[in-house]
Amino acid sequence: MKTAVAARIGAIILAVQSSSYVLACSIPDDAGVTIEQDGLTIGIIWQQDTPPIVGEVFELNIIACEESKPFVGEIKASAMMPAHNHGMNYQPNVTMKSPGQYLATGFVFHMFGTWRLKLNIFSDERRYDIEHDLTL
């Protein structure tokens, strides 16, 4: 009996997972930044739809689509100022909210100037290193 219930739950989880894999993935219109690289498309939505303010904590939503399907894997985020050769004083944390949808928290850009946002995006099969420059 227990085995049957477990099998049924497993089947449901698999069905939900596989259905999300086949869901089409697209970058919403309100994305502040869209980046395409080697079949991966990334959309960045700034918190409260405004780009970061110097010295303020901010977070961002990341939409990741791989060949038009939601990307499932891990994302590591960081940022640095190329001109000054220093990074942030904070280590952001990225969590997957649902397949293709990620929330990155803990950013503070503490100086005016150009910041390079770095996203290391990887799954078992592939790895993408995305960079995007933003001038405050």
């Binding site: 010295g55 928290t105 100086m111």
Partner: protein, 393 residues
């Protein structure tokens, strides 16, 4: 008659309406970012007493109360003197032992991300506990203090009115935290007002440049242009409070006087913050959401934090000499001289690439001092309001 006409002609030829200096769009964006000032008071969610008038009055009384220290020697106000812009004008003060860090001004001290030259604390109330516990400073014995305050009927009554509890019902740790929060409630009221620069900024934002030298002299405006331009001071001294709230290594020696070792600055500050039982990640943060602890949670300890010290606010900076974490720079002129002659070798070894010697000439230095002096506004703080506790008298 002929002579009068001649003078009139000369006057008309020489006279031109003064419109001040011209500013580029980029400069105007920077000027806009340095205000508005003063900012609106915001309640500190980590402190349940923040902005409560009873707590402010009780905090004010505690701020001037020497019983908070061992042998009733020092009050907070003995180092943070109201008539000295809430600092002490000394390079380094002495409590029970000599101190190795300069007393910071308490002006506009509310709602900063970090407190202390090394950022050892993430709230004003936890920072307020620090000097009480430091053996070189107030060296408070909380057991003795609790008994002393319990025996003071008037204080006991006012305390109960504010906290809804008797002093005796508090554990020693709870009492310490509550005293810190009351002290913070008062300190949040210590503020600088609108300065000449702020009036100038408002005028410029209205896109009216006519006669704006009546708010900010041409000399000070030249200093402003340097500050936001070539000298790049605004990279760290940014925003309405003229600080990004973070830390930097500008080449001030980190060796402590008399061979007492080194001050590791932010590096040790982060280590101390993480160990601090009163940090915002802990149970004494009165905001259950802990949304105010995001910085503390994401903070990273980096090698470059070694020898970094807090970027201070420049509000009323002409009234807060001497300068730097160790009080080693005597006047504003000396500060400008310090940045003019930065030791590049020292900076290239450890400092940020952002810094370079300014090599300012005499006129530029004078303009810079004129601009920094224009950042002084009237100072205010909560005043005595004992009628709040009239039933306790």
């Amino acid at each position: 008659m002929k002579l009068t006409a001649y003078f009139c002609l000369v006057f008309l030829l020489l006279w031109q309406p003064v419109y001040g200096l011209e500013y580029s769009d980029q400069e105007l964006t920077m000027i806009r970012s340095l205000g508005p000032w003063p900012t609106e008071s915001v309640k500190d969610p980590s402190n349940r007493f923040s902005q409560q008038e009873g707590a402010i009055e009780l905090g004010r009384q505690l701020f001037f109360d020497r019983r908070l220290s061992k042998d009733n020697r020092f009050s907070c106000a003995d180092c943070h003197q109201p008539n000295q812009a809430f600092q002490d004008s000394l390079p380094l003060n002495k409590g029970f032992d000599p101190l190795h860090r300069h007393t910071s001004s308490l002006l506009d001290v509310g709602h900063r991300p970090w407190y202390g030259w090394g950022g050892e604390h993430d709230s004003l109330w936890s920072q307020s506990i620090r000097p009480m516990l430091a053996s070189a400073e107030m060296h408070t014995n909380i057991t003795i203090l609790k008994n002393t305050l319990k025996q003071d009927n008037q204080f006991q009554c006012a305390f109960q009115q504010v906290t809804d509890r008797t002093i005796g019902s508090f554990s020693e740790d709870e009492l310490l935290i509550t005293l810190g929060k009351l002290l913070a409630s008062y300190q949040e009221t210590i503020k600088s007002g609108s300065s000449s620069f702020d009036l100038f900024r408002s005028q410029r934002i209205k896109q009216s440049s006519r006669n704006d030298e009546q708010y900010l002299s041409i000399d000070a405006q030249k200093g402003l242009k340097l500050f936001i331009g070539e000298a790049r001071c605004v990279l760290c001294h940014s925003g309405p409070n003229f600080t990004n709230g973070e830390f930097g290594d500008i080449g001030v020696p980190f060796f402590i006087q008399n061979g007492q070792g080194v001050d590791k600055g932010r590096y040790k500050g982060i280590q101390a913050l993480r160990k601090d039982p009163y940090n915002l990640l802990g149970k004494y943060n009165d905001d259950p959401s802990k949304n105010n602890a995001v910085r503390t949670k994401h903070l990273q300890l980096l090698h470059r934090n070694w020898g970094e010290f807090k970027v201070p606010s420049l509000r009323n900076v002409s009234q807060t000499a001497p300068y730097m974490h160790n009080g080693s720079v005597r006047t504003l002129v000396d500060v400008i001289d310090f940045y003019s002659n930065l030791d590049e070798e020292r900076l290239h070894a450890d400092g940020e690439k952002i810094l370079r010697p300014l090599h300012l000439n005499e006129e530029q230095s004078r303009s810079m001092v004129a601009f920094l002096t224009s950042l002084a506004g009237p100072i205010s703080a909560a005043t005595e309001n004992t009628q709040l506790f009239s039933r306790c008298q």
